[in-house]
């Protein structure tokens, strides 16, 4: 697994300076973009290498730009991958069911105002939970590599990542309304 933080010249931690990420990404892109080799006397192999590097840089940018994929990348660097079949706390499931029901009701009623309100709530809720994720990462990152309480801190991060996955999927559901409309 490549370390995307290293690739884009950033410290490996959850809090990322987005301006720095953008600057480093654009700089790397300029350096490796296959078009930069166009017209010059380069072999097919060199071009394909450049394309591979450009893909990697784009992949890294995509992983680090948003908090949730960034958190998942940090976890994978820790050797933790969260599968789709991870056991989930019943309370979280119940909460999600309730949110989805409210969404379905508003859709069935064709209540645009209510839908917009629910979407604003979903975004606000997600922001709050992302702040909590940041706090849990800060706690984890403050600990020494071999600290005994580290496992619990890591588990707390994993829980929050799972929670955020559900919230992100719920928020995505609002975009479907546009898609359905647009396809009509």
């Amino acid at each position: 697994m490549s370390d995307y933080f290293e690739l884009l010249g950033l410290p490996r931690r959850f809090a990322v300076d987005l301006g720095e990420l953008e600057r480093n990404y654009l700089g790397r892109s300029r350096a490796v973009h296959p078009d930069r080799l166009a017209g010059a006397e380069r072999s097919a192999e060199e071009r394909s290498d450049a394309a591979g590097q450009a893909m990697e840089v784009n992949q890294a940018y995509r992983a680090l730009r948003r908090e949730l994929p960034r958190a998942e990348h940090l976890l994978s660097l820790e050797g933790v991958t969260i599968g789709d079949n991870q056991p989930v706390a019943p309370a979280l499931l119940a909460e999600m069911l309730e949110l989805r029901e409210a969404l379905e009701e508003a859709r069935a009623a064709g209540d645009r105002g209510r839908l917009d309100q629910l979407e604003r709530d979903a975004r606000a809720g997600e922001r709050a939970e992302l702040a909590e994720l940041g706090a849990r990462f800060s706690a984890l990152e403050a600990m020494a590599a071999g600290a005994p309480e580290r496992a619990a801190a890591l588990a707390a991060v994993v829980d929050q990542v799972i929670r955020l996955r559900y919230l992100a999927r719920y928020r995505d559901a609002f975009a479907e309304d546009d898609d359905v409309e647009g396809a009509a």
């Binding site: 892109s29 300029r30 973009h33 296959p34 017209g39 394309a51 893909m55 992949q59 975009a175 396809a183």
Partner: protein, 680 residues
């Protein structure tokens, strides 16, 4: 897949037939790369000279080449393909051999086109029996079938010829040796623009057309990106821009961010089947309805309108629309029917389509996480944005006046030329980071799509994901690659299927298959799969479903060389004879039926012309038969017009067009091709 096929072409043998051995570096300085806007309605070609891009004009001085291709029936003894203004002008007379708006069919299968089939004047051939024959085709009156890729290649050839001619003077020292015109520079490379929203199949078809025209396609560039480049937003400025592109047949919305000399497409969206043509059709429908000539079976390709009547209605609708750019109101005419048309009527006719664009705009802004008022500017692209109705709509939608210093019809070609210049060694300091317009994924259990590359991912892009087997001892793994936003396979476009074989026979869930997507800078996709335990592999270039295999391109190229010779004259003679016989029979029938519409001198002239056709048809000079047939066409022109007008009058009295088709089609004069078609 076509094993080894790539070798044939990458090695460069076939495409260098005109200039053997010149494909490599030492001759680069003699090459010129152009930018091509291959549009639905019109196409343009531009080039960078002295550091600035300019659009190249045709011999008639126009910058727009109508994207219309007319095929002369095989063996008529004339040039076999006519592209541009002349083809557009004669479209009404030869509707079934004249192909317009072919871009809408690029990369499409016959089944995709049910909605438009009844509203195009030419005949769409169904999918054939052979493998790889799923691409939609147009059937010409002589029975030939042409693919949209071949038709587009004709347009590209015409553009290259136009560019060569325009650059022919004063560039002799740069010209290549060989048997080309020594004054004309060698144009063998191009950047071709595509709507940002084109899917993989449509992009592939566009690149195939370029290859078929003998061009090295340096890049498929998204039209809005090209437009933004042309606007010189790269000149040290930074900001976020929306490009609203409403062309003849497609709509694109893109949000771009310029920063540190990198041009990044943040979000893109649109509709590949929405544009000015829809407006033309809506207006033409009004006109035909006013003439009492509603389509009897909508969407049924087997019973379109009478082609000539439909073509006339479409031409008049387009002309009326253009007149409304300057005037507040105008009148649409068809035969003796006329209906008034004001800007408010036009706005009303356009409203459903404009509303569709605003939904796409909302979604793109959402993807970009921007509000309309956070943009630094809005750029207009496409002929349809010249309409005041569209401009007003866009200004309202974004809450600001759009930029319009550059001609919205030229701006894309100018940007493409700039990129062609940069990619052919001319330098240029801007890096373009474009995105993939539609998500890519694979089908998983239950027809659910697992997206690996989400839409708006920057390209080139790569995504890797691991899947497991679902059955014990499963030794094969079917991989179905799809593109689109729906959660299930049904709503998405199927791009390719392939199979990974030779998996180890182990319990379900133990074999692990890693699937890798790679999307190159043209937006074209390659998918590979390998099993992690044993290392067995399989890969596919995503293209055989709708694109052309390399063998097909090769065959088409060879056909085009071989056809020039041998049996052509014989085929010409036979075709001309059959056509001449049909023409005479149809004219005779029309005269018997409608003698009253024809005065005595005209009747005599037509009769004399018929005798002449019959006389030369007994001989072997196909050109003479053609000339005599044309003379008969001319002699009976007025008579045919009279019958057309009578038919329209009859329509006003409440008869349907399908009944009228019987009156219109077998007539003399301008419906010659139609007659040939109907009697088959």
């Amino acid at each position: 897949m076509t094993p080894g096929g790539d070798d044939v072409f990458v090695g460069g043998g076939l495409f260098q037939i005109g200039e053997p051995g010149q494909s490599t570096a030492p001759h680069r300085c003699g090459r010129r790369a152009v930018g091509i806007d291959l549009g639905t309605t019109n196409s343009l070609v531009a080039i960078v000279e002295d550091g600035a891009p300019r659009v190249l004009r045709g011999a008639d001085g126009s910058v727009l080449l109508p994207s219309v291709v007319a095929y002369t029936p095989t063996g008529s003894g004339e040039a076999r393909v006519v592209v541009g203004e002349e083809a557009r002008r004669t479209a009404a007379e030869r509707p079934r051999d004249t192909i317009a708006s072919v871009k809408r069919f690029m990369g499409r299968a016959a089944g995709d086109l049910a909605g438009v089939a009844g509203m195009v004047p030419y005949e769409l051939a169904g999918p054939g029996d052979g493998d790889g024959d799923r691409m939609v085709k147009v059937r010409l009156t002589d029975g030939r079938e042409v693919t949209p890729v071949e038709v587009s290649a004709e347009i590209l050839r015409a553009l290259v010829a136009r560019a060569s001619a325009a650059l022919g003077d004063g560039t002799a020292e740069e010209a290549s040796s060989g048997d080309l015109d020594p004054d004309a520079p060698l144009i063998d490379a191009a950047v071709i623009t595509v709507p940002a929203y084109f899917d993989d199949g449509q992009r592939q078809a566009t690149r195939d057309a370029g290859r078929l025209a003998g061009l090295e396609v340096l890049r498929l560039l998204a039209e809005p990106t090209a437009a933004a480049l042309a606007y010189g937003l790269d000149q040290g400025s930074r900001g976020r821009y929306a490009v609203y592109d409403l062309g003849g047949g497609t709509f694109d919305i893109s949000i771009l961010d310029l920063h540190q000399g990198v041009f990044k497409v943040v979000a893109t969206g649109g509709d590949t089947a929405l544009g000015g043509d829809d407006i033309d059709r809506a207006l033409a429908s009004r006109l035909l309805a006013a003439a009492g000539a509603d389509r009897s079976r909508p969407g049924d390709p087997a019973s379109p309108h009478d082609p000539a009547l439909l073509r006339r209605a479409l031409d008049e609708a387009r002309a009326a629309k253009h007149r409304l750019s300057d005037a507040e109101s105008t009148t649409m005419r068809l035969g003796e029917v006329s209906i008034p048309l004001g800007r408010a009527d036009l706005a009303e006719a356009m409203r459903p389509w404009l509303d569709k664009t605003s939904r796409a705009v909302r979604r793109a802004l959402r993807d970009a996480e921007l509000a309309a008022d956070e943009l630094d500017g809005v750029i207009l692209v496409g002929g349809s944005t010249k309409s005041p109705v569209v401009r007003d709509f866009v200004a309202e939608l974004f809450g600001r006046e759009p930029l319009s210093q550059l001609d919205p019809e030229e701006v894309v070609a100018l940007g493409a030329a700039a990129q062609a210049h940069a990619l052919s060694g001319g330098g240029g300091d801007v890096v373009l980071l474009d995105v993939i317009p539609l998500s890519l994924g694979i089908e998983t259990m239950g027809g659910v799509v697992e997206k690996l590359v989400p839409r708006n991912s920057t390209i080139p892009a790569r995504a890797v994901q691991t899947f497991t087997t679902y059955a014990d001892n499963q030794t094969g793994f079917d991989i179905h690659v799809v593109q689109g936003e729906r959660e299930t396979v049904d709503g998405n476009r199927s791009l390719a299927r392939f199979q990974l074989k030779g998996l180890p026979a182990v319990p379900a869930g133990l074999a692990r298959v890693e699937i890798r997507f790679e999307v190159d800078a043209d937006g074209l996709t390659r998918v590979s799969a390998h099993e992690l335990m044993t290392g067995v592999e399989a890969a596919v270039e995503v293209k055989p479903t709708y694109g052309l295999t390399d063998e097909e391109v090769e065959r088409m190229l060879l056909d085009s060389f071989e056809n020039a010779e041998a049996d052509l004259a014989r085929r010409s003679l036979l075709t001309e004879r059959v056509e001449a016989e049909r023409l005479v029979a149809a004219t005779r029938a029309a005269l018997e039926q409608d003698a009253a519409l024809c005065d005595e001198p005209t009747r005599a002239a037509i009769a004399a012309a018929m005798v002449e056709v019959e006389r030369v048809a007994a001989g072997t000079d196909h050109a003479a038969i053609r000339r005599a047939s044309e003379a008969l066409d001319r002699a009976s022109h007025e008579f045919a017009e009279a019958r057309m007008n009578r038919a329209v009058r009859a329509a006003v009295r409440g008869r349907r067009v399908d009944d009228l088709a019987g009156d219109l089609a077998p007539g003399a004069g301008t419906s010659r091709e139609t007659a040939g078609q109907r009697s088959r």
